[in-house]
């Protein structure tokens, strides 16, 4: 991600209900319910609670997320994360200690000789 990309922060004390769209990186420490569509990186911090369908380029989850996730590159579900929902992404990483319920669809390109 380019340094010029701005980082948007939704702090701990903030709740958003509705849809969020746009570019730039986004860090959620508070609560978001609804829909998120982002062109860049989304980070859900450990204090963050997201009940939303998420579309983003790349997603890092340290907090709680429920809803369907569609990432164009990578989804990282870290140790402290709790995730409910279906994930569609090219690369999905689930760390030891993470809680995940749902299905994963990786956009795997199988070699031609299989």
């Amino acid at each position: 991600m380019a340094n010029t990309d701005q980082i948007n922060i939704i702090g701990k004390g903030i709740t958003i209900r509705g849809s969020m769209t746009g570019g730039g990186g986004l860090v959620i420490e508070g609560r978001v319910e609804g829909q998120i569509a982002l062109k860049n990186h989304l980070t859900i911090e450990s204090s963050g609670i997201v009940e939303a369908d998420i579309r983003a380029d790349e997603l890092t989850i340290n907090g709680t997320a429920s809803g369907n996730i569609d990432a164009s590159t990578k989804v990282s579900i870290n140790q402290s994360a709790k995730v409910n929902g279906d994930i569609k992404a090219t690369r999905v990483v689930i760390e030891d200690g993470a809680v995940f319920n749902g299905s994963i669809e990786m956009d795997v390109k199988l070699p031609d000789d299989i």
Partner: protein, 107 residues
Amino acid sequence: MANTVIGSSITIDGEISGDEDLVIQGTVKGKISLKESLFVEASASVEADIEVQNVEITGKVTGNIAATDKVELKADCRVVGDVRAPRILIADGASFKGNVDMDVKER
């Protein structure tokens, strides 16, 4: 400081509530209710009813504004809507259309 910033590239359609300061540089439609201060910066475009403690507007706001403490319309802001607050400041150069209700207790 975990300051919440909604950057210029972000659009929110819905409701924002909370108990910490909020800086808007992007687009927000819907409703904003905060127990603290709201800053609508020059690049921001807000179409929302706003209920806050303090609000400082340098950008564009369409909607009714109710503040428990202070509303500050800075130079170059464009505000359309009714404003209700005990303290209202309008800077030279600000554009404003709407009612002002300072809710001052008559002596």
